[in-house]
Symmetry: T
Subunit: 78 residues, 12 copies
Amino acid sequence: MSHTYRVTEIVGSSTESVDDAIRSGISRASKTLRNLDWFEVGAVRGHIENGRIAHYQVGLKVGFRLEETDSGTGDLPG
Amino acid sequence: MSHTYRVTEIVGSSTESVDDAIRSGISRASKTLRNLDWFEVGAVRGHIENGRIAHYQVGLKVGFRLEETDSGTGDLPG
Amino acid sequence: MSHTYRVTEIVGSSTESVDDAIRSGISRASKTLRNLDWFEVGAVRGHIENGRIAHYQVGLKVGFRLEETDSGTGDLPG
Amino acid sequence: MSHTYRVTEIVGSSTESVDDAIRSGISRASKTLRNLDWFEVGAVRGHIENGRIAHYQVGLKVGFRLEETDSGTGDLPG
Amino acid sequence: MSHTYRVTEIVGSSTESVDDAIRSGISRASKTLRNLDWFEVGAVRGHIENGRIAHYQVGLKVGFRLEETDSGTGDLPG
Amino acid sequence: MSHTYRVTEIVGSSTESVDDAIRSGISRASKTLRNLDWFEVGAVRGHIENGRIAHYQVGLKVGFRLEETDSGTGDLPG
Amino acid sequence: MSHTYRVTEIVGSSTESVDDAIRSGISRASKTLRNLDWFEVGAVRGHIENGRIAHYQVGLKVGFRLEETDSGTGDLPG
Amino acid sequence: MSHTYRVTEIVGSSTESVDDAIRSGISRASKTLRNLDWFEVGAVRGHIENGRIAHYQVGLKVGFRLEETDSGTGDLPG
Amino acid sequence: MSHTYRVTEIVGSSTESVDDAIRSGISRASKTLRNLDWFEVGAVRGHIENGRIAHYQVGLKVGFRLEETDSGTGDLPG
Amino acid sequence: MSHTYRVTEIVGSSTESVDDAIRSGISRASKTLRNLDWFEVGAVRGHIENGRIAHYQVGLKVGFRLEETDSGTGDLPG
Amino acid sequence: MSHTYRVTEIVGSSTESVDDAIRSGISRASKTLRNLDWFEVGAVRGHIENGRIAHYQVGLKVGFRLEETDSGTGDLPG
Amino acid sequence: MSHTYRVTEIVGSSTESVDDAIRSGISRASKTLRNLDWFEVGAVRGHIENGRIAHYQVGLKVGFRLEETDSGTGDLPG
């Protein structure tokens, strides 16, 4: 049997660290997407205020398994 | 507090110019997505008919802030 | 008139071949997305069990035309 | 039936704008190539003289359909 | 002695499979180019009609050895 | 004789268009750098406010010829 | 507990097809490497003789789990 | 009004962690550059001594807003 | 005198963090390879279970100096 | 006035060195193409026989200015 | 203790060879920058006049260690 | 019959030139690997001491044909 996966792209952010931005993004995604399976880190960026890092922003591709009956409920917008 | 952003990929098109294809794509996305925040231009392509450019097609990644309560309404399909 | 397209990213899989994984992914996407127009193959990966390929996984970007009235029904989740 | 396309690479230039350099390149290519079908924009560069942009140079890949009988007439050199 | 090779870019297409699109493109190129030596696969794309793959399009770079006396006959256009 | 060139990276912005953001960045650079010679466009991004493009931001690499006697005056910071 | 994986790069070849070149490379690797876990396809190339594809060559990264006690036996050379 | 930004490339290092190397680099840059606005992480490398990580080195692009009157004071060398 | 270095590719994993996955991979490699000199981080991925990150996987290229007499002992498999 | 340039891709080879392969390729191209203007080096490869480099192969993109009246004479094949 | 490095981008040129263009660029940079530590070669290009290479241009990233007290003297412009 | 090739990554170095670093790396690899077939140049880097190039370091992928009976002798470590 052949599963199909869907890949969605998000940006997690954190005032603390790169790892925390990753966890924050995954945590938010898991609130509205079922069957989250894997992630891959993309661009790591951040903003600086007054010479200090104000927050980290980490691009993430998140993959999850589509169920045969999925049809648009429980979605992230976009 | 840590916002999470969603990145969606679209292709805007125009018979006029690259800039117009960008604006057209953003305009269409804004009809059904809230909190659009930024975009990034990807591939710029187009079709040629009778030796002239028939239309421009511009790949765009569009980012928008997820609200804590977003759960799949007001979405672009896909 | 300027159409806007939406690009969604999926991973098709198959125990048989690369081509079958492509077809499987497109077939699944077509169940819930209207106006599928084109695809582009990304990463081609797979898993190995007992020294043999257990299944192929093919990343696919799938483009489809947005209708003026699309607003979030008939969507793939995510 | 399976068409084959040929992709040729050119650089269009203009003293006016990026869009004008694209149009200029396509226009020149259409003088000697039949069946131009699509283009894709590559590197966008330019030269500066006296602190102002002297001209824009836009790399373009241009695709056109090969006819079954094409054999080297009506070609761009190179 | 130092040979020089020429690299030309084509797009082979097929309604059947990726492999068939590769073979189709090489076959077409061999009708008008001598001394074809190697190929490399680039982008693999395709079009979808009614939820099924209508045709595959495979970008190919094709290399062939230039003879010392080659001067523009037997060419692919462009 | 062998010239050496220096490449500096800037981001030009504009509320109007991509071309205007390019011109704006080059214009600013030319105020404090001598011998500007060429530019290359990198990432094209922008911000969206209320569903409309608020400004375009275009990454630019700008090259200029170093004079034998250059030693740090008339510089862009950084 | 944290596993470490090793990634080795091979090129599988076949006179038949891309898929066959993938299977051929994995099959050869499995003769001397334990615990093969996944693969990823890289460059797809081939040689042409007399206007026909003589053989396909497919670059593959192959990953396998290192056992705690692995120390250099059962290795592919290089 | 159109701001212009300058992007400078640095490598931050740390004996502790990737995050610490990022912070260390930003901190050093903020000593001599005004208006630091954002950063982007590039290559993450490090050196190993006696089988342990001796230090992490993180490539960073750092962007800052140019003031209209900037003319080369308060600069990082190079 | 000219040293030659060898680059081997591994994937370190951890249930804790990206940094811990890097350290774990380097630590494992140092058990069987002499003269480890540097590393470079590649893809950062991970798996998700029940909406939480189950483990991080970090691709690493690890370089080490070849001794003149190295001939295949003390090797990582593959 | 806006010139258009054509970019052709060749592979120069040499038994001696990388530089000699570049010169050899440019020299061959100049025999049949007018108005050669610039080149850019791509992949640098080579073959090994009996543990020694048998020849170097250097991919080159070569640009030349199209004359308004060019129509397919004096061409490299392909 | 954590050093920070600065990376500056230059283009060295030479009428003789690629290696000479590298050396020429490094030599020029060392006249005004202290503590040069490493370089990395980027794009290798050149200009052609009358069918022969008129000069080579080699893009270089040059890294150097920032001293704690560096504040903008002895700089390359830009 | 289908050969399988193995690709190993090394870094050759030289105090003299880029070409010499390539030859040095290939020469070292040929001492312990049989059937070396081809190489491809990757990153070209180097170190600078007292404003002069102290040594060049050239990344190389080296391919060689696996014999049916290869099982881990005559290997480069790693």
